[in-house]
Symmetry: C2
Subunit: 214 residues, 2 copies
């Protein structure tokens, strides 16, 4: 008889903590199902009840790693904030979440980033998801007359490049949190809105979705 | 009797080629003076006539690695180009020099970048030198009314962050030369000038160094 879903979920969560411990001890060295079973004090066949295979385990690790950032992106894009504030929050809150991980356990973060590099096929979907949410904000800004002459994809790519220091947690290890700051991030977001694409001819350009209702 | 300087210089250049070969074979693994002497087919005491110690060798490696970029920065800052073009050239030409290294021998570049990380004390001076030349361009732009409300250091730091994808050659390995392009780089430089700092009140603000000569 299959265990109730909640038990499986609880078991997975506990096993991901064991993965943390293994990564703390061994760094980004590849972890096999056998290693994880041994560290968790269970038989490999028992472990397979929680994760079908190594890929499923890696996907669960990635899901947990990105959960907070997805929560932030959903919250920000669904909010009623002005579009410039949305973009600021989109980058600043994710950046601060990375800083928190970095300051709590830099070595653990570094190892997970290396694991992510080694298994980029698992990470790619989350990168695309980030672009998807940024595209929603960019489209809203375009409706207000920003980024004229650029396609959504071009604007997303340029904005990602201009804010790269605040989205790639690896940069924390290069540049550090003294030179990086949310104050600077806000200035860069301002430069994005003021400077990216052709200038807006008028103060406010009505977007194509706006209809005159009178 | 000491050899003429030119012989020593020629020997150093040849030895740096041997270092390339060692790095090609072994990656970023630390190279000792003994290893280099063996690979060059000379005695360690002979090698010490070319490089006083390991630090001197590393400094010579860094000097050669950064030579082209320094040449570019000197040329651009000394040119008569308009300041916006200067900044574009400052970033674009260095970026293209990195792309050339990346496309010729990606593994060799990656290994040298890793060596640079391991011996950051040797690299730091070159990073500071880059900031020095960028500060010259920023000061010129400020004299023309750009970046109002920012100090030179703040502007240099923000601009470095906004262009980070085009200055850190490591990013070539993450993002690749499909998504990075000098066209996008030019758009980011435009956004820097149009969007960074307070807006310019008038079309042209005379700089403090300008004197009315009539």
């Amino acid at each position: 008889m299959a265990r109730p879903q909640t038990d499986i979920e609880a078991g997975r969560t506990a096993l991901l903590e064991v993965v943390d411990d293994l990564v703390r001890k061994r760094g980004s060295v590849d972890i096999s199902m056998t290693d994880l079973a041994a560290a968790a004090g269970m038989s490999p066949s028992n472990l397979y009840r929680f994760f079908d295979n190594k890929e499923a385990l890696l996907e669960a690790v990635a899901e947990r790693f990105f959960a907070e950032k997805i929560r932030i992106m959903v919250e920000v894009t669904e909010s009623d904030l002005p579009v410039r504030d949305k973009m600021y929050q989109y980058f600043a809150r994710r950046y601060l979440a990375s800083v928190e991980q970095y300051e709590a356990e830099p070595e653990l973060l570094k190892s997970y980033l290396e694991i992510g590099q080694q298994h980029f096929e698992v990470v790619r979907g989350y990168v695309d998801l980030g672009d998807h949410y940024l595209a929603i904000i960019v489209a809203e800004a375009m409706d207000q007359g920003y980024f004229q002459g650029l396609s959504i994809d071009e604007a997303v790519s340029l904005i990602n490049q201009m804010l790269h220091c605040y989205t790639n947690p690896d940069i924390l290890f290069y540049i550090g949190t003294t030179k990086l700051s949310v104050t600077k991030l806000a200035m860069i977001v301002d430069a994005v809105f003021q400077g990216l694409g052709k200038k807006i001819a008028t103060q406010s350009v009505p977007g194509s979705h706006m209809k005159i209702v009178s």
